[in-house]
Symmetry: C2
Subunit: 308 residues, 2 copies
């Protein structure tokens, strides 16, 4: 039983529309509990266009901050007083704290993945990075890797222009960086693999419930023997790419570490709290539990919809 | 551990200024838990004059309702769309629910005490009531007793005009009621006692930590042998009046039953939930625990203040 609900209880929100399947606030609340914080996080449906009114209400009620999902990730940026530069560059703000009436925004996807890679012991400094995919998390992850001294970044994507947009952004912040955008073909995969120390898989290929997977995994066999392969996907626990890399004895990471470290980064951002390494297992358990709850909820909502 | 924080979690507030010593939301949250409700109640400091902006924010965020303490109990009334008649008459609104953008206000002090008296088995219908004191809860309690068929009400108060104000209000709603206001002297106490079936002690006389008590309790000995004596005070568990009445073998009730039943009434008002009789013990434990927490908090705040 939670016994403390007093005048010092901090209120935070998870906002978006819809939020029927959202489970972030279940996870956040468990983090607050682990850190013995007197805080609560609740879902609030905020429709497109309602952000300014929502923010005013938050200020009125002394709300400490909020997390953002669709459809507000870009709309929030012009409403913030301060935004972390990479998060602004890649339009990926998903956490806002309110301090002295000012809104401070940050995106933690990239940081979460890079913290997970660091946790694995892989030496990022000086490494050559191969990014697969140029979706929402590719830019932020690449930027955080460059921030920690990655020496080159190659981004492969079906649509090359999206990859180019990221390399141009990266060069603004890291002028001496070797950044290359290429089309994601088997040929390019195979030609880039021997030069890559770190592969970060950022597409939805191989994700449970989604269509499609890499048809040919021979490029994995061409990676150097000290290479690391990180996937943003956590379900299944081992995508075909990770399974192939693991079979070769390479260092592999699935997306769970990214999620757990995002929670650590969230706690640091909102509350200045450092969750120690002993937290990792608890964090993973919490995430898995929240995902089970989401599945149950989705099933219930589907049944409800069907019975109408 | 509380595991459900999803899009259906209902948010309610306890508002006032200050709220440093408030413990209502601790109690409410436990009630929600007992009823397996997906709801959370949090404190928000709302300063005098800020009520309209607060209400607008509540509507914006889909807040389900709020409880009110000082300094808003009267200010809330003109802002409500509907107010329960007795609560409007005695300016005692302390719960507001928001339904379809409309504010519905109610005071539950009077109802809580009358439910407790009914629980004790005392037959209110046709009874003659003697109210001691004409403070904030006297009017609402008297009105609820009349609603349940009390046949006469005598109100004794140091300042007779305050008692008269209540009797005038009561006669508006119950035109055939015998309602009398008198000065609270030992003589009047002793002349009224033999005619009273039910005594409701609504002053702070005998309350722990407050100055003053009834100097002469002989009027208790003049009550009929089937009389009931109810006190709004719960600390001490037995005020001098209750102790004297109990020693005579009269039916006695302290203020705890009133508090517990206010929580029951709150659950009915906000959620339409009926807490069964098995809830009474849990409710009392929760209240006592919240009060201990308040004492601890008060002590901590006092120490903090002293060390400045």
């Amino acid at each position: 039983m939670r016994v403390k609900y007093d005048v010092d209880t901090q209120l935070l929100f998870q906002i978006g529309d819809p939020l029927d399947h959202a489970c972030a606030c279940t996870i956040h609340n468990r983090m607050y509990e682990l850190a013995n914080l007197n805080a609560v996080n609740l879902n609030v449906v905020v429709k497109k266009g309602e952000l300014p009114a929502f923010i005013q209400s938050c200020k009125q009620l002394g709300v400490k901050g909020f997390d953002i999902t669709m459809p507000h990730k870009s709309d929030i940026i012009p409403l913030c007083d301060e935004v972390e530069p990479f998060s602004r560059e890649f339009s990926c703000v998903n956490h806002v704290k309110i301090r002295d009436g000012k809104l401070i925004g940050v995106g933690l996807d990239g940081l979460g993945m890079v913290m997970a890679i660091e946790d694995s012991g892989f030496p990022i400094y000086g490494s050559k990075v191969l990014m697969l995919g140029a979706g929402a998390v590719s830019g932020p992850i690449a930027a955080e890797l460059c921030q920690r001294g990655a020496s080159s970044v190659v981004i492969l994507n079906r649509t090359v222009s999206k990859a180019e947009k990221i390399t141009i952004s990266l060069k603004k912040y890291f002028p001496t960086l070797q950044a290359t955008a290429m089309s994601m073909t088997l040929e390019n995969l195979c030609s880039c693999a021997p030069e890559a120390d770190l592969v970060v898989q950022c597409t939805s290929l191989g994700m449970s419930g989604h269509q499609g997977d890499y048809e040919d995994l021979t490029f994995i066999d061409l990676l150097p023997k000290d290479a690391c392969v990180a996937d943003v996907i956590f379900n299944p626990e081992r995508t075909s790419i990770l399974a192939r890399a693991e079979a070769r004895g390479l260092r592999v990471l699935n997306g769970m570490g990214m999620l757990v470290n995002q929670e650590k980064a969230m706690m640091k951002f909102h509350f200045g709290v450092d969750l120690g390494p002993e937290f990792a297992l608890e964090g993973e358990e919490t995430l898995l539990m929240a995902l089970v709850m989401r599945q149950l909820r989705t099933r219930r909502l589907t049944r409800k919809g069907a019975s109408k």
